[in-house]
């Protein structure tokens, strides 16, 4: 299970790259592995404002639907439209496949760094 060291993670297995007041989000290697072959990504509209934990979009594999929950409070500034036609990129390159970029005012205080997230994954799988 690949966990990238410069990212933060949520309990729902989104990854977050924080750069100033910009947060870039995707789903972790663990999340894509759990979902299986991803065949559909539903993106939010640019300009949408969300609170922490709100649904930002949806990732669907052949067998499951999974919401992407926002790790921050703020406004969507960009979405990765390339994923609409190549959703399988989320499987092959989960950390290269960002889904949304947000300008944020607040971030989830429960975000985990890579070390804590690795432990969290181990616990989840006892």
């Amino acid at each position: 299970m690949n966990v990238k060291s410069d990212l933060f993670y949520t309990k729902d297995h989104e990854w977050v790259l924080i750069n100033g007041d910009t947060a870039t989000m995707g789903i972790s290697d663990h999340a894509q592995g759990q979902l299986g072959d991803i065949v559909f990504v539903e993106l939010p509209e640019v300009g949408k404002t969300v609170k922490i934990g709100d649904t930002l979009g949806v990732v669907e594999s052949t067998k499951a639907v999974s919401d992407i929950f926002s790790a921050v409070e703020g406004t969507v500034t960009d979405v990765n439209t390339a994923l609409t036609n190549t959703p399988d990129k989320v499987n092959s390159d989960p950390y290269g496949s960002w889904i949304v970029k947000m300008k944020f005012t607040k971030k989830n205080p429960e975000l985990m760094d890579a070390k804590v997230y690795s432990e969290y994954l181990k616990e989840e799988h006892h």
């Binding site: 299986g36 949806v58 669907e60 052949t62």
Partner: protein
């Protein structure tokens, strides 16, 4: 009730199966990946552990009468070595289960039922026993493997050095495979040519390993569902339930109203005469999205006129496909219909089933 393991469980783990709980069993949802497994079955050969399925034997002088009364299809047409697919109905026409009926001989039948329904079915079967037959739930005695795909026949033949040319579609025979006495049945749940193999519970792993070594790709429940949906084969609990009849589900070719009495016949005759209020239809979507079980079908005024029972993105066709019960008046009057997916209504287009016709 604690979750059970099939005799093939260790093989699943060994082959990297992602194990989940399903109908009270630990079973692999996928191995190498759902789409890869799906395509292996369509283009080559895949193997499924379906040991969780239930088996019931019916024995006695009046076994034939018993079975004919129990199910909707005409079991009088069966002969030794022949298999039949049939719904089994309640008096009101709703479906108890769908099953395969194997005629071993005039006085012995084997019924293969869905895992989630074993207890319910067996209770129901016992209640219908006015014919003095001996009913036995032998589910714990049998493993079941499904070997499916265009290369299934060649793979099984080569693996066990046998000839299966004499086993035609929906027929079976007894055969000894690597020293194990099995029933080899030309049936399946994928829309491909293939075999279902039944044998003594503890021998399943041995045959699984042999078939995988012979080239059968390990497949999980995930692609079992996408394959059966492409072939528009019913999934009990989704497409057919106690609240739906075989006529509504469009599986009326397996209902023989004219060939003798059976449980539910009166209700089905009545429904046939009065006409159907809803019907299960195949559809695709005209915009990108994936229909799923329980999503609503609405008209242009957002009124609910139906419900999706199964849906997926078809790995073979690359388009969304699904089955939905839709009110017949809406199907007939040319209304524009939509599937409600979260906040969007996506236009639905009826599509002929099976979505994928291979075999």
């Amino acid at each position: 009730m604690s979750t059970k393991k099939t005799s093939i469980y260790d093989c699943h783990v060994k082959h990297g199966g992602k194990v989940v709980e399903f109908a009270g069993w630990y079973l692999p949802v996928e191995f190498s990946g759902l789409i890869n497994e799906h395509n292996s079955v369509r283009n080559n050969v895949g193997i499924f552990d379906v040991s969780h399925m239930g088996e019931v034997t019916v024995k006695g002088d009046r076994a034939g009468e018993y079975v004919r009364n129990l199910v909707a299809n005409d079991t009088n047409k069966l002969y030794d070595g022949k298999v039949l697919y049939t719904p089994m109905c309640y008096e009101h026409g709703g479906i108890v289960d769908d099953l395969l009926v194997y005629r071993v001989n005039e006085k012995e039948y084997l019924l293969v039922i869905n895992a989630a329904n074993i207890d319910k079915d067996f209770d129901w079967m016992k209640k219908q026993n006015k014919f003095g037959v001996e009913l036995k739930n032998v589910s714990p005695d049998y493993f079941q493997l499904a070997v499916q795909g265009p290369n299934a026949k060649a793979t099984v033949e080569k693996c066990f050095n046998i000839d299966l040319s004499d086993v035609k579609f929906f027929h079976f025979k007894n055969a000894t495979l690597n020293g194990v006495n099995c029933i080899v049945s030309r049936t399946g749940y994928t829309g491909e040519n293939g075999f279902e193999i039944y044998g003594p519970w503890n021998e399943g792993g041995k045959l699984w390993d042999a078939l995988v070594a012979a080239g059968a790709v390990p497949c999980g429940l995930g692609c079992r569902d996408t394959l059966r949906l492409e072939a528009a084969l019913m999934l009990y609990g989704n497409d057919i339930t106690a609240e739906t009849t075989p006529l509504e589900a469009g599986i009326d070719i397996f209902v023989k109203l004219e060939s003798g009495n059976f449980i539910g016949r009166d209700a089905l005759l009545k429904q046939k005469t009065e006409g159907l209020k809803r019907k299960l239809v195949g559809f695709t979507l005209e915009e990108k999205g994936i229909p799923r079980h329980d999503y609503l079908v609405v008209d242009s005024n957002d009124n609910t006129v139906g419900v999706v029972t199964s849906g997926t993105l078809s790995p073979t066709l690359g388009i969304p496909i699904g089955l939905a019960y839709i009110n017949t008046d809406k199907l007939n009057d040319g209304s524009k219909l939509f599937v409600k997916i979260r906040t969007r209504n996506l236009p639905l287009k009826q599509m002929k089933t099976p979505f994928v016709k291979k075999y």
